[in-house]
Symmetry: C2
Subunit: 310 residues, 2 copies
């Protein structure tokens, strides 16, 4: 199935254009989980990875009927080496078994021949010793950094077309210093991020689903609503993956410019505000981290529904 169609269908089933970021940080995981894993595996990377996986399964159980998608951030897993990567893959499997779309946040990038390895590994299939093909990560979509231009993007687009996957290209990121490069004014009057948006449009050609949206999307931060408005005009067919809601300061009204008049075209991410809600909201113990996450996911959904009139 085409990725853009799949994502929009899931969003509309839940009537909720939001995605939960699975960004586990060991110091924020409930102490009972941390202690149990350290007792079982010693105070090792393996114990942390096991804690992440148990925690993630709890979060997925709590939110899978509310949200259409999850976005595990690879950095948090990869930092623990092979065990961390294994926890990432097991998290992906569990999320998919619960009917969730999985968007890997990895911001990968390289020159063409190396980008093939990233794209095949994360979205497609890789070759074995005997020349057979096996799938490794099996995510539905991945975030990509396009500073290297078209030949680093093509391998991802090839996999998108062959395997029904998607990608989201960094256009205007949510962080404070995103403007240092992205906001620079070019001689033709555009900014760097506007130029990037034009390229995203080109790269998405031929990846559209039946609903008219492209499977090459764009990362556009909730913290820059003015820029988002302009980007919505440049990339009418791209789905925006919108970080920066919640903990980073963006609200539901800030993300409205990321949507098209058909109320489609964007999916808003919250990570810490959902998964560590037990530390941020009144009335939850750490044993109740799932209930807190569920309540936070419902609040975010309701907030977006209200702002978008869904």
């Amino acid at each position: 199935m085409n990725f853009a169609d799949l994502l929009i269908q899931k969003i509309e089933e839940r009537n909720n254009p939001s995605v939960v970021g699975l960004d586990p940080r060991i110091e924020n995981i409930p102490s009972s989980i941390r202690e149990e894993k350290a007792n079982k595996y010693g105070d090792t990377a393996q114990a942390v990875a096991a804690a992440f996986l148990e925690f993630n399964r709890g979060i997925i159980d709590a939110v899978h009927d509310i949200v259409p998608a999850v976005k595990p951030q690879m950095a948090f897993y990869e930092q623990y080496g092979p065990y961390g990567v294994e926890a990432f893959i097991e998290t992906v499997k569990y999320a998919k078994s619960k009917g969730l779309v999985v968007i890997e946040d990895a911001k990968r990038n390289d020159i063409g021949s190396t980008a093939v390895a990233y794209a095949n590994g994360h979205l497609g299939e890789v070759a074995t010793c005997k020349g057979n093909k096996i799938a490794i990560y099996g995510v539905d979509a991945i975030t990509v950094n396009a500073y290297l231009g078209t030949d680093g993007i093509k391998p991802f687009v090839d996999n998108i077309k062959e395997h029904g996957r998607g990608c989201f290209i960094l256009v205007k990121t949510s962080n404070k210093s995103s403007g240092e490069l992205q906001d620079l004014k070019l001689q033709d009057g555009n900014t760097v991020y506007e130029k990037m948006a034009q390229l995203v449009n080109q790269w998405g050609e031929g990846t559209e689903g039946t609903l008219g949206y492209s499977s090459v999307g764009a990362v556009v931060g909730a913290t820059y609503p003015q820029e988002a408005k302009r980007l919505r005009e440049i990339m009418p067919k791209a789905i925006f993956l919108v970080p920066g809601y919640g903990a980073q300061g963006g609200g539901a009204d800030d993300v409205l410019p990321c949507f098209n008049p058909d109320k489609r075209g964007a999916i808003v991410n919250s990570s810490r505000g959902i998964i560590f809600a037990y530390q941020r909201r009144e009335g939850f113990t750490e044993e109740q981290y799932k209930e807190a996450a569920r309540a936070a996911a419902e609040d975010m959904r309701d907030d977006l529904r209200r702002a978008l009139n869904l």
Copy 2:
């Protein structure tokens, strides 16, 4: 020890400013290794990872007294999941045990709070369940993509200062389409890559070693000698990591503009041209892949010595 000092010292010990890219591709690994691993582990990702590790150890044995450094490209390992990442880490350990500097090519990037995870994982230490700190990847330096600006770079610089590590920031990459973004002309007359170079200069402040070079380096492709000349002026203290020599078309004369008048300030990479030399040069069987790699590494060293008058 300061990274810039360490790298320059190793380069001068070998009188050879080159680095061997460890970019294993399973279809290019000698068939005897592939068959042995498939027999032992089945036709699995584990078998590929084991083949990579054996192959890499052979290459490292063959070149460690000729070159100062190796540059494993994470994409090729990561695509095979946890086993691939384990092979990467074991390759790093083996290279360091043979006295080589290890530069991880990973082009990582993210917003500040997530970049901390990448930087701590690859260059520094990460927290355990009990709040202790452990090192995971232990590389000497990593390549970084700075499209997100300063707050995504600071965590790397923090680790560079604390642990004596280094990074190389993508400025002007070696691939054909690098110009689509990087060559855009800004209203102030600079190109995007020139602006990136100015930022690299800033980010490197305070990371210099006793030899005056910064531990925040720059990736500058051998395929763009004119641009390299300009970049050498903008970043006098940065060490250039120079891909694109050999298989990508750059020659020893093309990399000369990457060096300073003191004949320091750059390290030139070749990957396929060295590690798969047995497929590219006359007179070697696949059993002789180590001898072929050694001969290719010697030729590259001699080529650079001649061009630089070393």
